[in-house]
Amino acid sequence: MTTLGVQLPGLDLKNPIMPASGCCGFGEELGNLYDLNQLGAIMIKAATSKPRFGNPTPRVAETPQGMLNAIGLQNPGVATIVAEKIPKLHAKFKDLPIIANVAGSAQADYVAVCDQISRAPGVSAIELNISCPNVAHGGMEFGVDPTAAFELTKACVNVSAVPIYVKLSPNVTDIREIAKAVAMAQPAGFTLINTLVGMRFDLTTRQAILANQTGGLSGPAVLPVALRLIHQVRSVCDLPIIGMGGVTCAEDVLEMIIAGADAVAIGTANLTDPFACPEIITALPAVMAKYHISSIESLIHERKGKLVK
């Protein structure tokens, strides 16, 4: 057992850290700044069946210790992603497990994209995005309805050649109900949280700052909400959880694992500092030593012993 390594279905992670979907493109730009083989894995930008321009601009607005985004799942479509983006990333960083983020507006789209992308060389797992708040149809509609979430997950699990992690929305009354329903479809695990729906207005124009009106809140401001939701999902199921939401440092990573996560994704912090992930990986061993944590796996093990169902 290495100090930082974590084993999850389909994912042999040398450390628990990975950039979150939408905050690292398809790895091309970050890959020019540092060696991505250092990362535990990478969660690439959402793929949909057809190319999408996404929402009109402005697409981002700042909030205290956070930001709103309404990108609207801009991507070049699954065909281009499978033919160009993934091969390029895989050829340059052979040791980097790729987690493909899949989105859509109808169940058939999700299924077709999962089928195609799960067979791309280098793709180790799928993150099923049933929680995007920034599209008119699909996305979060699936993630807030237990029956629809179950059906969709089941259909995707059936066609996928790699393990599926379902990305849960925080914009629900009780995340445990959704998690329990999705778990019945036997995915490999969960990822959470996606962004929280929010708004900001401009005092001069009296209009919403985002062209889409609403956007998803992320960044340090959401950390406590993410921790609580991860803890809630952990209390009702044993499936692996990749935690995310507001993580900026090694201490936050350990806190996520204590709350119930088995690995941790870093989103907005990459936008503030593109070197955030390698910096956190470098900082982890010393912070672990400070808190007498011999390895990430041991911390997960310790948590399992303590958690009361």
């Binding site: 939408g22 905050c23 690292c24 493109g25 091309e28 730009e29 970050l30 020019n32 700044l33 930008k45 057809k50 190319p51 999408r52 321009f53 996404g54 601009t57 402005p58 697409r59 981002v60 607005a61 700042e62 205290p64 210790q65 956070g66 930001m67 985004n69 990108i71 801009q74 070049p76 479509g77 960044g219 340090p220 907005t268 990459n270 936008l271 503030t272 500092d273 593109p274 070197f275």
Partner: protein
């Protein structure tokens, strides 16, 4: 090479009402910087997680500093304006693509069009083009007399004329009026413009079809390095489809026919 540099404030002066010139020293000048590239500046207060983009106004390789010129418009720029000598800033850069000029003939005639805080990257461009021996005509527009900066500095590089929206200095009118009245007798090999969206739209319409007319676009950004898709524009070749250009990595400089502003 893009790096997150720690730069030291060596000077900060108010060059016009609410407009500051910030001198930052450090290793960023050790690698090449093109005129028209920008930096993404971390606001030195943890409450602000998005960096602020600013054009690089001057590069001094010998003395190891860059200058930024910015107007105080909100919280981030207000915080920057309070920095004094010795303070440090995290500056990501150099970012984006600069103004293309390799195609220019010797001693080419060039028109520079700057509006307000669009002027900074054009200062460095003008400085370089002048030293390469090109002939510059320079049209500058400002809202009013109080907000004028760098008129004298730009005049070193070529024939410089100023307009103001309210007529408190120079010609009263838009920058297109200024061009129509003063800069019509030459056919310029290249036109370089940077300013508010209205100015860039007007310049794009005025010089439609010109093979070497370039604008530097602005956009709400987050990462500044192409990973978040905040800053996209439609292209003129596909005005409503999924094709797009990112201002931060494909720009900020574009040919006027390339993108939908």
């Amino acid at each position: 090479m893009i790096k997150d540099y720690t730069l030291t404030v060596t000077n900060q002066i108010e060059v016009a009402d609410t407009i500051y010139e910030l001198t930052l020293a450090g290793a960023i000048t050790k690698d090449p910087i093109a005129a028209g590239q920008f930096v993404n500046v971390k606001i030195p207060n943890p409450a602000y997680i998005l960096r602020r983009p600013f054009g690089i106004a001057e590069v001094n390789v010998a003395q190891g500093y860059i200058k930024l010129i910015y107007r105080v418009v909100g919280d981030g720029t207000q915080i920057l304006a309070q920095l004094s000598k010795g303070a440090t800033l995290n500056v990501l850069g150099p970012l984006g693509h600069g103004f293309p000029s390799e195609f220019l003939n010797q001693n080419a005639d060039v028109l520079i069009i700057g509006g307000g805080t669009g002027l900074p990257p054009l200062y460095e461009l003008s400085r370089r083009l002048y030293h390469e021996g090109h002939h510059l005509d320079i049209a500058l527009g400002f809202p009013n007399k109080q907000r004028i900066f760098y008129e004298a500095k730009m005049s070193q590089f070529g024939h410089t004329m100023v307009s103001t929206d309210d007529g408190s200095y120079g010609l009263q009118g838009t920058i297109i009026d200024l061009i129509d009245q003063n800069f019509t007798d030459k056919s310029y090999q290249a036109i370089y413009a940077c300013g508010p969206r209205g100015l860039e739209l007007a310049v794009s319409a005025h010089f439609k079809g010109h093979p070497h007319a370039y604008i530097s676009a602005e956009a709400r950004m987050a990462c500044g390095i192409g990973i978040c898709n905040a800053c996209v524009l439609h292209t003129t070749a596909d005005t409503s489809g999924a094709t797009n250009k990112k201002v931060c990595t494909d720009g900020p400089v574009f040919h006027i026919n390339e993108v939908v502003l």
